[in-house]
Symmetry: C2
Subunit: 505 residues, 2 copies
């Protein structure tokens, strides 16, 4: 909101108080929809990744345009997993197919590789009236659901049914549609979420009136999953809610760990024992960097565990085109695979989705290009592979660079970024900084992140936005700035941190 | 769902009953998420436009591919407002801009008009990293919000603030985000909706636990709004809910009426008197065909009514790129303008939207092309105008053709299609058909629509999906099949109706 609006709001609020003190309620004009009578779950909802700090970053960007006297020239947005915004180039094959289906005259008139033309024609044939402007089914185009099923089969070596795949406008929409199946009420359904977690989960649970049952990841053990912690979190929650579901983010956001196969088996057994559905947030499945780390999908491990797990544990797995090597956040594409869900429940989910029309057809088509990339021998293969490998190799280098730099800084302790796109270092803050934060009405890590932004232009997200063990402080930075910018950013960061600790020594 | 899955579900359900009768609950394995324990609002939700009839239409299409012995060769999908699927061609300017921003090398290498290139560069400059693969703000790109504000100012002759514009992935998403601000509970908030109505409203209200307070449109008076009816519907609802909001669809879906300025003024006065927020569903604002009919936005009328209305009545207005002359359903673009909302409520709405990331950037860019079409004198103007006019003129012709044909058929009575894209005739069904429907467990108009589909391949939506006065029967057909297909469809329809009435005479 602009300053004018805030002032207006303030003035109105004063006027309102003045008027209410003079008039009886019936004569007093007030809005139909107010802070008091609106859905309170929306009021309670918090979303740190795009919260006040990010709004301040945008304001600073505007100030810089107008010629501010800040000691830096640009804001570095290390707060959001937005690769293209940080300079990563799109994968050519994806964009060529999108251009062709958008303006089909290009297929004949422009010099595209033959596999781009062929793919575009196949996808257009699947669209109503051969136009990406026609609605698809609400679950996505059948041809794309089938291509995703094939992708999963090749990834896991186990069958996948296309009828159980839903194409979504990014993973968030899919995740919310599953969380929306649970029941609020006096003793609401509970959903286990990791701490730290991606704040979409905590925000959506508040919105839906469900209870978040947090389980702590083990920072001292590379952010691993500790089964004792899961059991004790579940036990503690039984008084206030009925736990029905567990969220696992693998590779982890914001924590960057990659789960071992054994860890996943333990979670599946835990879910089976306690009759929980697993929400497997696997959007970073392409982003694994550490030696010895490997991505195992919950679906694959489930299939290989045999009875009673294979056919009994309910799993929903989520994927997006916003992350990985493609980073196509703005296109909004992704999918959801459903395993072992009660067919009647699944039917109601499909029905509810149908009331929301379809996810963007262009986003779906980009999703198809990710599920079915060019194969060896096809004209687009070499370039595709070169571009994909370059991005993933560079991310691997940057992951190590960020961790090594932070670990070289006094008061920083940072686990390896085995996967995903973030680093979540723990920082020690001087007691005087904690006091100053308190005086400023801010959590200490938020205070630190604001200072960082104001003095250097670097925008990160404070750990409290993701939740963290009480008394510990963290922040999340992406590893997405291109290498030269990242190096510069880390230098500035080091400098800032030294000054900050000196100031509050 | 496939037949195999249905059978499995049936078998499982029998097995489950058998098992439960033998074992104690603790030994009995059941799903974590079941029909009984899932969110019951999702179970209750109904959505006719894509319901069983449409699923049957898809099944018939598959049968036809495999060589069925049906007496027709294709299904005519007159159930959905999906212009491109029915053969309408995209507007060239929109697609050229989309191709350029998707694959920017085309700007220099392909022969596009200069205004297409210029627009594409401007929009790319507004994207993070000059890529449509970067996230925008959750409310849309600022440049596009500003272009929409200018569109509204030109349309209405009154100011529009870009900060009050949200770019959305189609109108449905925007409408749901406003309905989601209301409170469920023992005495839930009530939302007045027209009967007949677009079923997104009834479905969303069930999903959110809100009460739908229906008001009947006056079929005998060209589906007009009767203020006595509004007052009496509101009065009746007071025992069960607290009415906070009224939905007006103008031009009407499925009913095709265009509200007069006087009618809109009366609604605004009614909303003011009863402290209701107005949801103005104005997605068909370009689709006005009848002589003497004109689209008046609620915003414009509100601004011109003066105090106390202008500054007090809360209005939210919705637009989409799926309808109008462009018909870009698959791209998912649209907007929402907020007028007079309590600033604190608006701030919470913006915050909640930010948790869902952004609407598709390509959909936003298509929205920009609609809000800011080529101007007279610009290279793309002539073609744009020719294409736009051709679509709207053809729709006008088809609107009249459909109404005239239906009114020439015995037992049909059909109001003029003044606007939008649908015809909603009232049909008299023979008592024996009503009995046969009852025996078949179907509403009589659903029975009629199923018979029409099975015998002719024409897919319409039964009136009961939109709600209608008890004892009356209707169906909704779009006017979107291209003229030759539409003529053929109407001939087949006439033939079917004669046979149907003869059969049940």
């Amino acid at each position: 909101m602009g300053r004018a609006k805030k002032m207006l709001s303030h003035v109105l609020s004063i006027r309102f108080q003045a008027v209410t003190s003079m008039l009886s309620p019936i004569q007093c004009r007030h809005k139909s929809l107010t802070l008091e009578n609106m859905r309170q779950n929306i009021v309670k909802l918090e979303y740190a990744v795009r919260g006040p700090l990010v709004m301040r970053a945008a304001a600073i960007e505007n100030e810089l345009k107008k010629g501010s006297n800040k000691p830096f020239k640009k804001v570095i947005r290390a707060n959001l997993g937005d690769a293209h915004a940080m300079g990563q180039k799109p994968i050519t094959f994806i964009r060529q197919v999108l251009a062709c289906v958008t303006l089909p005259e290009l297929i004949d008139k422009y010099d595209f590789p033959s596999d781009v033309k062929q793919r575009s024609n196949e996808l257009l044939d699947a669209c109503g009236g051969r136009s990406v402007g026609a609605y698809s089914a609400s679950y996505g185009l059948e041809i794309i659901r089938k291509d995703v099923a094939k992708y999963i089969e090749e990834r896991d070596g186990h069958p996948s049914k296309w009828e159980d795949i839903l194409i979504t406008a990014g993973a968030s929409m899919g995740i919310k549609s599953i969380l929306g199946l649970y029941s609020p009420g006096n003793k609401p359904d509970g959903v286990m979420i990791p701490i730290p977690q991606y704040p979409l989960y905590s925000a959506s649970l508040v919105e839906f009136g469900l209870e978040a049952v947090g389980y702590f990841l083990d920072e001292d053990n590379a952010w691993g999953l500790d089964m004792n912690e899961l059991n004790s979190a579940l036990e503690k929650s039984k008084k206030t809610c009925s736990v029905k579901c567990i969220v696992i983010i693998n590779p982890g956001n914001p924590t960057g760990q990659v789960l071992s196969r054994e860890n996943i088996e333990s979670v599946i057994k835990f879910a089976h024992e306690n009759n929980l559905l697993i929400i497997a947030d696997e959007v970073y499945q392409h982003n694994v960097y550490a030696e010895g780390s490997k991505f195992h999908s919950f679906k694959k491990v489930l299939r290989e565990m045999g009875a009673p797990y294979t056919d009994e544990v309910e799993v929903t797995s989520f994927m997006t085109i916003s992350k990985g090597y493609m980073g196509e956040c703005g296109l909004r594409g992704g999918w959801l695979e459903i395993v072992n869900m009660e067919p009647a429940v699944q039917a109601h989910l499909y029905k509810a989705l149908s009331a929301m029309l379809c996810p963007t057809v262009l986003g779906q088509i980009a999703t198809d290009a990710v599920a079915k990339p060019p194969k060896q021998g096809e004209p687009s293969y070499d370039l595709f592979n070169k571009e994909k490998t370059a991005v993933l190799e560079s991310l691997k280098t940057r992951a190590k660079m960020v961790v090594d730099t932070f670990n070289s800084m006094e008061g920083f302790k940072c686990n390896a970024v085995q996967g995903a796109m973030y680093c979540f270092p723990r920082i020690q803050l001087p007691p005087k900084a904690i006091e100053a934060a308190k005086a400023d009405g801010k959590a200490a890590d938020v205070f630190y992140a604001f200072a960082l932004l104001e003095e250097t232009g670097i925008c990160v997200v404070a750990g409290s936005g993701f939740k963290q063990r009480p008394g510990t402080y963290h922040f999340r930075t992406t590893i997405l700035p291109q290498t030269d910018v990242l190096k510069e950013m880390l230098n500035i960061f080091q400098d800032f941190h030294q000054k900050f600790t000196k100031k509050y020594a």
